[in-house]
């Protein structure tokens, strides 16, 4: 092959052939890596098998546990995370930056580490064990433990989105609202939150999806008790040992949910 530029095309072989091929190949590898497992999940099942598998006695309780725990953990994240994000967005002190980094930490923390950390904080022999025991509260292997594990790993997704949204808010808008007689809480509830609503909603959806998929920390801190702490991901893990088809059907349900969340988030954050 000649390295001379082709006078008609005006482009070198590198430009015309090699580069597009390399980019195409690299892109194709990654797309296949994501698409093939999803295809495997969907194509090797049938509607009949899906419905049969969803009748499995494990599915109902797992759905119930998942729905209730993710709802509570999301409510906890939004109720506490929105004021925290407002605080962090409006203060650029050293302490605020440290807190922001700390809150973001669970994103890069391996879930197993999160599980161990939660046990060491709230377990019977953990940091908060004695005071909790004195109150008669035993957190590990309870449904509350599932909520804590989910909130721990999922909170950063919401808080980060909320901080970004609040930072985009024009400070003059907040100031003007106050000159119009609005107290700080009124500015927060009637100006900051409504204007940031689409971004907050998108953050909440992502956060909820992360809570939905929580596995490692839940397994270590809350266990895998059917009807009590067994969420959908744990049910998939359990089903895999006996019945691949049941695991597959549960997985398909979760793919559908995840896809719906993604579409909603993209629609919500489109400018």
């Amino acid at each position: 092959m000649s390295e001379r530029p082709d006078p008609r095309a005006g482009r070198s072989v590198l430009d015309a052939v090699l580069w597009p091929t390399a980019v195409g190949l690299a892109s194709g590898v990654l797309v296949l890596l994501v698409a093939l497992p999803i295809a495997g999940l969907l194509l090797t099942s049938s509607p009949g098998a899906l419905i049969r598998a969803l009748g499995d006695p494990m599915v109902g309780p797992a759905l119930g546990v998942t729905a209730s725990t993710t709802t509570v953990s999301l409510a906890l994240i939004v109720a506490c995370g929105t004021p925290l994000a407002w605080l962090l967005a409006r203060h650029r002190t050293r302490a605020a930056r440290i807190v922001e980094t700390l809150v973001h930490l669970p994103v890069v923390l391996p879930p197993a580490v999160a599980g161990v950390a939660l046990l060491l904080a709230f377990g019977r022999r953990g940091l908060m064990g004695p005071p909790l025991a004195a109150l008669g509260v035993g957190l590990p292997f309870s449904r509350a433990a599932v909520v804590l594990a989910q909130a721990f790993v999922a909170a950063p997704f919401y808080v980060q989105a909320a901080i970004a949204a609040f930072r985009r808010l024009d400070p003059d808008l907040v100031l003007v609202a106050r000159t119009l007689g609005a107290s700080r809480p009124r500015v927060f509830f009637t100006v900051a939150v409504p204007i940031s609503w689409p971004a907050l909603g998108a953050g909440a959806a992502l956060s909820w999806a992360r809570a939905l998929g929580e596995f490692g920390a839940t397994l270590l801190f809350a266990g895998n008790l059917t009807g009590r702490t067994q969420t959908l991901p744990l049910a998939i893990y359990t089903a895999l040992e006996s019945d691949l088809r049941a695991a597959q059907s549960l997985s398909i349900v979760m793919v559908a949910v995840a896809f719906a969340v993604l579409v909603a988030v993209r629609a919500g954050t489109r400018p």
Partner: protein
């Protein structure tokens, strides 16, 4: 006609600032002109209460709004000072009517909206009531923002380069509107600009702020409507520019 004496003497984060003004509510605003970094923003933020100065005091009409020594710091929302910045600050999620109603000091929503509608009608903006801020032109947005501030009957109205982003024609119309409104609602008006022509067009009095202090207090006695081509206008412009220019270029140096 009300009189508002404004006294500001503060040490802010970046600079010290001192100013003692008798602000008479007139049909023409008092304009503060000054180069960048002269302390215009520090001044506005201190009067509004948006930033807490390290030292000093701010007094409006004899009432202390801020006094470090006596631990007085009236919150922004209780100062009765209107604020109109250059950037458009209508609440994007509220219709024009609800924007104006936001600041009406009344308990019930219907009453707030009724008074907001009245104000919009008085300004000839009634047709905009149902619109969203995104659907307004720049001039319309600033007119609504002005109405929103004035509906609270503020003691003092602060305008920070409010017409800087508007085209020349709209700006001229805004000048006329501002004068009409201030004559009606009667707040003392402090307008900050670095546009000397705008200062002379609008003001009965131009203050030049240099390095945190009023370096010149210039009454403007020209007849209205004012004409940029008028000899006295030009003369005033030259004098103000000199005051501003000197502050920018000449540093105090030892005489030979």
């Amino acid at each position: 006609m009300s009189t508002a004496g404004l006294e500001v003497e503060i040490q802010g984060r970046f600079r010290a600032l001192s100013m003692d003004l008798a602000l008479h509510a007139t049909d023409a605003p008092i304009v503060v002109a000054g180069p960048n970094g002269a302390g215009k923003t520090t001044l506005l933020m201190a009067i509004l209460g948006a930033e807490t100065p390290a030292r000093g005091h701010v007094t409006l009409d004899g009432v202390p709004l801020f006094d470090r020594a006596r631990d007085v710091d009236v919150p922004v929302e209780r100062r009765r000072i209107g604020y109109l910045p250059q950037r458009y600050t209508l609440f994007p999620h509220l219709a024009v009517l609800d924007n104006v109603a936001y600041g009406v000091p009344a308990v019930h929503r219907p009453e707030r909206r009724r008074r907001a509608a009245e104000t919009l009608a008085a300004l000839g903006l009634a047709s905009l009531a149902a619109r969203r801020p995104a659907e307004l032109s720049g001039g319309e947005a600033q007119r609504v923002a002005l109405a929103r501030a004035l509906v609270r009957e503020p003691q003092l109205m602060l305008l920070d380069e409010p017409f800087g982003a508007l085209d020349a024609l709209t700006r001229t119309r805004m000048h006329a509107l501002l004068q009409a409104l201030c004559a009606r609602h009667n707040p003392a008006v402090l307008l900050v600009t670095h546009d000397v022509d705008e200062a002379i067009l609008l003001a009965d009095r131009v203050l030049v702020l240099v390095d945190g202090a009023i370096s010149m207090d210039q009454p403007v006695g020209l007849a209205r409507p004012r004409d940029r081509g008028h000899a006295q206008f030009s003369e005033l412009r030259v004098r103000l520019l000199a005051e501003l220019g000197v502050s920018e270029s000449v540093a105090p140096s030892s005489e030979r």
